[in-house]
Subunit: 268 residues, 2 copies
């Protein structure tokens, strides 16, 4: 009887994996990994393999999405297989799908969780997790037009006095990683069209770069100022705070994210 253990690698580099995940990988017959659902800029495959003491087989989007992860499932039918995934392993729908396929074939599955950008970005922003509404991804614009959902989600959350966490599109195969500035420009275009005052040049936003890295950057300011702020290399994430802040949130934005003092006027 085989088994498939999904192990979260956490953020940034190979040292993000938990001690428990490391043990699972060391005691497995095969280790697979994917690096296309998130960008782990500090990770070196060579160092990872040295840490685990075994070869890591990297699978592509095609293997997982078009071929339904068949190479992984075939091994896991009889052996212990570890599948390393950036962040927390079941946040990407494609991995939930792989887990369902495995269970349908009688393969036992287990999960070893890892740090995720979901909780990391909430914590780094200094904003309270129970005040976040639904989150959303800002995708690259296609020739056909701009996808309006991200703008609408920010507007809806603001109307309910909630914060919004925006993930930014990454296309590892094309080496395209959306920057905070690109996302802000997309949202400003949608503001011009929809005029709901959700993302204006004066709106407060928080940009987060390289969460989990030693050189992580968190900067809160007006959209106008953030358009000229140098966040450095990707990955980037954006947070749009609600119009009203709890006083600890305002204090955190000023002291931990370098927001201008006037943000304190938004506090209750």
């Amino acid at each position: 009887m085989g088994e498939l253990v999904f192990v979260g690698m956490g953020l940034y580099d190979e040292k993000g994996v938990s001690f428990c995940g490391l043990e699972e990988a060391k005691t497995s017959d095969f280790v697979f990994a994917e690096f296309y659902t998130s960008l782990m800029t500090g990770l070196s495959l060579e160092r990872l393999e040295r840490m685990l003491g075994k070869e890591v087989l990297v699978v592509s989007r095609k293997t997982l999405e078009d071929d339904n992860g068949e190479p992984i499932l075939q091994k896991a039918e009889k052996l212990k297989v570890v599948f390393l995934v950036p962040g927390d392993p079941l946040i990407a729908t494609t991995h939930v799908d792989l887990r369902i396929r495995a269970e349908k074939r009688g393969i036992k599955t287990r999960i070893v969780h890892g740090a995720s950008i979901v909780s990391a970005a909430m914590g780094l922003s200094g904003l309270q997790n129970y005040r976040f509404g639904r989150s959303v991804t800002v995708p690259f614009s296609e020739p056909g037009g701009v996808y309006e959902t991200p703008y609408n989600v920010v507007a809806e959350n603001k109307s309910r006095d909630l914060h919004t966490l925006c993930f930014l599109d990454i296309r590892v195969e094309e080496e395209r990683f959306m920057t905070a500035q690109e996302a802000l420009r997309i949202l400003l275009l949608l503001e011009e069209k929809n005029k709901m005052h959700a993302v204006t040049l004066d709106s407060l936003a928080v940009g987060i770069a390289r969460a989990g890295a030693e050189n992580a950057v968190v900067k809160a300011d007006s959209v106008k100022s953030l358009l000229n702020y140098n966040f450095g290399s990707p990955p980037h994430t954006l947070v749009f705070p609600a119009e009203r802040l709890h006083f600890v949130e305002a204090d955190a934005l000023v002291k931990l994210a370098g927001a201008p003092e006037r943000v304190k006027k938004m506090a209750r």
Copy 2:
């Protein structure tokens, strides 16, 4: 110049800490830890100290909330201090507050993220993270009455076709940990009063016990059935799915969380 490194311990036991967090603790002058914001049932202080090769000073809620973490800050003014926190370290507001106090005193702070129940519960439920509305904590009822916010949050999220993640109250000092059943009974009482059809005996819910443990349990069924389901020991978490499900979500609830086949009728 001292520094204060917040290190997330992840879920369940001492092996939830990342390799990076382990290194930070090993190279620090003092290691503090708190165990009251989340329940890590598998953790042994003795094993943790052995893993780190040094003493771990456990701080209480009183030290952090009444005394503003003064013992930690005093050490961190001149030395490298690691503060171990269950889950991802900045999800609890009290730790954001400690970080602000440290920075105000000129102490450099850094964050090593850990797996959080926020992303773990989303992933384990098989529901898609961008369909979660705001999350909420169900507190123990006080003699004065029942706190209505959790019910209202579930109702609001459902009205917007969103899922709800409910954290359940824990009071480590009193050894009281709310079970899924207790939370369901509180919400059913509020349903009787408010009649918004948010949490009825027929509503679908997902109970999660001991996320991150080898013996984690995830069970989806009607509230009526879950009231009689044996989840085992705490900690427990609840998820209330939206009334409509994506077909992968319905499939996941059936295959991964043992939901009845009729759940597939909720799929689009």
